[in-house]
């Protein structure tokens, strides 16, 4: 069979028309965009006009006060933020591993367990971090604790979801082998499943830590501790130069953490 001497000419197929689904999605996108622009009264003129107007927050940026960075209060709040992010990632991440395992066919002992765990995971995931913070502030009062609890649940949501996606693609051969040795369920998961997902799971924990650090800035706005508390303090007093000072420091720290995390994660996978 040589390519230069085809035995018979085969007619080239016509290019198929675009799929109906694709066309429908395209039309839907255009219509939705048009509707949103009209209904919200979006206009570029308005934005440009607003930006040109005298604005406390923008002028604060021009008079940015970097000395807040060295104040003990700011630093304490930053340490608090870091602690919340670390502890939240550890506790939430630790809980996420069994929750992810139990939501899969391999990991769950019975179908009932699997569905219950899946339902739980879905509920946790449906609630955004700021809502967790509001809930816990209402339950345990203002402070670091509600923030920490919010981050624990936020971490459970993130890491469980990412980990269970990886679990769907593992090699089932070793699982069968573990079954054949008469291993108990938990021992089987520990030896045949966990080693397969460990690099990805560790990488998710680091990523989750980055998210927690960023989330903690917002949690303070509703009284859940951390650097957000300071941002909210200066903002409500209209002291924008200080607000911007803290944001710059926050930006610097998240940037460094993110770089480090990416470096570690590259080595893991």
């Amino acid at each position: 069979m040589s390519a230069t001497a085809p035995s018979r000419r085969v007619a080239r197929p016509d290019e198929p028309p675009p799929s109906r689904f694709g066309v429908a999605m395209g039309v839907l996108f255009v219509v939705m965009t048009a509707l949103s622009v009209v209904s919200t009264g979006f206009s570029l003129d308005g934005i440009i006009e607003d930006l040109g107007r005298r604005n406390d927050s923008i002028s604060g940026l021009l008079n940015i006060d970097l000395s807040v960075i060295t104040s003990t209060r700011t630093l304490t709040a930053f340490v608090e933020t870091l602690q919340m992010a670390v502890v939240g990632t550890i506790i939430g991440g630790a809980a996420a591993l069994p929750l992810a395992l139990a939501s899969t066919e391999v990991g769950a002992r019975t179908t009932t367990v699997r569905w219950l765990v899946r339902a739980f995971n879905n509920v946790v995931r449906a609630i955004p971090d700021i809502l967790w913070a509001l809930l816990f502030v209402a339950m345990v009062g203002i402070g670091v604790l509600p923030g920490l609890l919010a981050l624990v649940f936020f971490s459970i949501a993130v890491t469980t979801k990412l980990t269970s996606d990886v679990l769907d693609g593992i090699d089932l051969g070793p699982v069968e082998a573990a079954d054949a040795t008469g291993a108990a369920h938990v021992a089987k998961l520990r030896t045949a499943v966990v080693p397969q997902i460990l690099p990805a799971y560790s990488s998710f924990l680091l990523y989750n830590f980055e998210l927690n650090l960023r989330a903690s800035a917002v949690l303070g706005l509703v009284g859940a501790g951390g650097i957000g508390t300071r941002i909210e303090f200066y903002r409500s007093a209209g002291r924008w130069p200080e607000v911007w000072g803290i944001i710059v420091l926050f930006f610097a720290i998240t940037f460094v953490v993110e770089r480090l995390s990416i470096m570690f994660r590259r080595r893991l996978v």
């Binding site: 051969g173 069968e176 573990a178 054949a180 938990v186 397969q196 460990l198």
Partner: protein
């Protein structure tokens, strides 16, 4: 002793993979199962450790822990009625039965030693397994198993870094580490080249002789079957169509089992020496 009586397996799709099988295998026998693809070979071996449940008939498996790597003393014989076996009892049976797979089924991301230690899971307390703190005795046993298949030098190497033949030897070591009284091997050499295949078959044969471990091997290749089997069992469409000593299985017999004339694909061929470096490794002859 393994005793199938009027045993049947019908899969959910309606395939009759085992039909009214009567078969008795004595302790210490080396049995090779042959048959075309889809004849029910895997179904038969997997029934022995309950990975595939029977849908009819009965299956009794008697285990008598004999001589083993750990010098486990002659234990009391235990008899298992495999049909309906669940939970702890099923795991007890499986612990007595080592299994070797065509695809090796190793955890590739972890070390060879950790893979072999999987064979000890039934004996090791769960909290120790969770922490990865295996008792020294179990590690010693795993090391001896690796020595038995001459690959102990790779104990701390990641399994993914081994060649196919080496991975299968680790698979054998994992089964050996169970101190089993039965070993099941489902096409253990199907993904290996001829010299490596012969090496793997020789390890299985020697382990069978040395420890008196009942060994059931599924094979595709007729020459391998006649060369290593004490006894050959032929299957076709889930039915037993031949049962006799390896020496009695000639070309006519195979033509019967396969229901067609033989082709070059049905034989593995001789081991050419000097090809794959690991193939020249010859297992030490066991003291008789």
């Amino acid at each position: 002793m393994i005793q199938f009586s009027d045993a049947s397996v019908t899969y959910a799709g309606g395939v009759h993979a085992m039909q009214h099988l009567d078969l008795t295998i004595e302790q210490g026998e080396f049995v090779v199962i042959v048959g075309l693809s889809g004849a029910g070979k895997s179904t038969l071996v997997r029934a022995v450790n309950g990975l595939v449940p029977l849908t009819g008939g009965s299956l009794q498996v008697d285990v008598r822990p004999g001589r083993s790597l750990g010098g486990r003393s002659e234990g009391e014989p235990t008899s298992y009625d495999v049909v309906g076996l669940t939970g702890r009892r099923l795991r007890d049976l499986r612990a007595e039965v080592g299994m070797i797979f065509q695809g090796f089924n190793l955890v590739k991301r972890t070390t060879v030693l950790n893979n072999v230690l999987m064979g000890r899971l039934h004996r090791v307390p769960t909290w120790r397994t969770l922490l990865g703190m295996y008792p020294a005795d179990d590690v010693e046993l795993a090391m001896r198993a690796l020595e038995r298949v001459e690959i102990v030098d790779k104990a701390y190497v990641r399994a993914s870094n081994l060649s196919g033949g080496q991975q299968q030897r680790v698979g054998i070591a994992r089964a050996l580490a169970q101190e089993p009284s039965i070993i099941l091997a489902d096409e253990p050499v199907a993904s290996l080249d001829p010299p490596t295949s012969h090496a793997v078959m020789r390890y299985l044969q020697q382990i069978n002789r040395e420890f008196g471990i009942t060994t059931i091997v599924n094979l595709h290749f007729l020459d391998l079957a006649t060369r290593y089997a004490d006894r050959i069992v032929g299957l076709r469409n889930g039915e037993l169509v031949f049962d006799g000593p390896g020496s009695a299985a000639d070309e006519h017999v195979f033509r019967d089992i396969y229901g067609r004339s033989l082709t070059a694909d049905d034989v593995m061929g001789e081991e050419e020496r000097g090809g794959d470096a690991e193939a020249v490794v010859t297992p030490p002859t066991s003291p008789a």
